[in-house]
Symmetry: none
């Protein structure tokens, strides 16, 4: 999300980059994404507006990078493989549920999920960096379960993964009910019945 053709990245001020990202997260958390202006981010970060426009094409891109910074730990994301598929899935779904309810992430994350509707470039970054890792790791775990015979070898894994994550995001985005670890467990219990045999 950060690279542009014009400016020279080697001369970029790390100080400013960090200040901007922190200010962005803070303001979005305090006042909401819509009410956060680039002007305010610049002011809070003690930075000229041009320094933001030089490195990011939009407010969404800034917030995206800010969220990415927050979640940097999950880089080498993978699902446990304890031999007990159901438990492994519960573990990862619970982690997702917790992330979705973490107030630090919630507002920004949700705003980005919205913003990708308007920005195809952002959307692909989002799928690749934010959504993809968890989805892919889960798919890998299911594939391994197919090899071990725990679940049906004919299963369409894309749909299977959606059966697991779909209910969580449904609640989260459409606000039909609160997301929780209990709900995550219930989803895994039910989805396992579809996948087994």
């Amino acid at each position: 999300m950060s690279e542009a053709r014009g400016p020279d990245p080697t001369r970029r001020s790390e100080r400013s980059r960090t200040a901007i990202l922190s200010a962005a997260i803070e303001l979005v958390t305090e006042s909401g994404y819509a009410k956060t202006s680039i002007e305010a981010i610049a002011a809070r970060a003690g930075v000229g507006k041009q320094t933001i426009y030089r490195w990011w094409p939009s407010k969404a891109a800034v917030v995206f990078d800010a969220v990415l910074d927050l979640t940097k730990g999950q880089q080498g994301f993978s699902v446990l493989e304890t031999g007990d598929l159901k438990e492994d899935l519960k573990q990862v779904l619970r982690a997702t549920a917790e992330e979705l309810t973490n107030p630090r992430m919630d507002v920004s994350f949700r705003a980005l999920a919205l913003e990708i509707q308007y920005d195809a470039n952002l959307a692909s970054h989002w799928r690749e960096k934010m959504l993809g890792p968890a989805l892919d790791a889960t798919k890998d775990r299911l594939r391994s379960a197919q090899h071990s015979g725990e679940i049906d070898a004919d299963l369409d894994l894309d749909v299977a993964v959606e059966l697991l994550y779909g209910p969580l995001y449904h609640r989260w985005l459409l606000q039909t009910a609160p997301v929780s670890v209990e709900h995550a467990d219930a989803v895994v219990d039910l989805a396992m019945r579809a996948m087994s045999r």
Copy 2:
């Protein structure tokens, strides 16, 4: 979404109301929700801005009413009960998939689905008028299948419904893959395995 305390609704101009709603849908479809301004809606509708502000609290509310007008036909929404649960579910999920891919609805509907993040009042109207009918009807159909023994009587129907709709909305909102009737069928096939017995 329409009523406010001040003005007298009996003296309201139906002509203006219709023009505003049409203009809103047109502009959102043409240019996207974010780029549609109230000012532009008023201009397109040949209406003063105050006439919009008098009757709706926000752009979201206008678009909400506009979309509601479009979908007025589906008022008495219910799921067929042919005796074949799987076919009945496929029928309703396919209908949902088609609605989500209908270009007339897509942009506005998606924008609203996400705008509710910022407006609690709108959110409840949305759940009640747009999402609720289909979800409730589906739940009713499942309850009837429980009575007839087609599916497990212990099933948590809320989660079951999410298992059906979650994957569709997951694709649609997070843009992980295209929504289609084939996908809807695949979801039903898989979810049925979780619900049966």
Copy 3:
């Protein structure tokens, strides 16, 4: 300078117009023309920037109207005709000298006199409303002196007028020496020698 095609002048806020003009004069006097920004004028006047841009095309046009307002008294400008040409000319040249040294006018007036270099439209207004009246009145007085035989009938009055005002403006604009009533008198005394007989 004030009229534009778009907006409706009958609905214009007199309150805002006055506040803008006052703020403009104040700021130019305090900080100089170049350091006065439209943004600052709007802020001082308690007015949106758009309200300035709606009615004036440039900072120069605002200041022009502001100065015009200040000098509105001189509307029906004319030169005394006491019968003593030299005294009449001294009277008007002294008045000009005083105006050029009046600190209230000096900064704004000087800035405008020079800003017309960049704005042909402003330049013609300037000549017509600010410079013209005094120059024309002086020319009229000289013409009457020609009829009475006080001065040479063959005299080119345009050059004669320049002989009177040129030295004053030369000092004032090029800052070669201070403008004063004594200087004005000296100029008249000398110029009279060129015009007589």
Copy 4:
């Protein structure tokens, strides 16, 4: 105008100096003084901005030096002394008129005349280097005419000089009429009548 305390003038790049001055004149002539930015001058000259700021305190100072370079020929300025005062004066006033109408000089020269309002330091350089030589030389010529009895010995020469140059600059700066050699002649003819006897 050029020297500053910090940098070492002996190591200055003549190449850069020349490129900057040329670029400045070009840009001012093409687009006008106000629309010419230091950034643009640096870019056109193929020079870093700092190289300009190192050697000149302001855009005005750059343009001043650029104009000075153009007029370097007139260094040892003096007025002919043919014995015929009127002709000598016509010769020098015509030269001034031609300079003021030379399109190469006009824009930059006029801009400087404006800029001295805001920069006292520039103003004194301007008077000394640009205006002074012609004015002083003219005054010298008049003084010699006083000695030879051609003109009144009591004449205030400062005012006399203003009587000659004032009308030209009046036309040029206030744009009341075009400057021309004919006009210069007419001014001399008239002013001579004031000075003689």
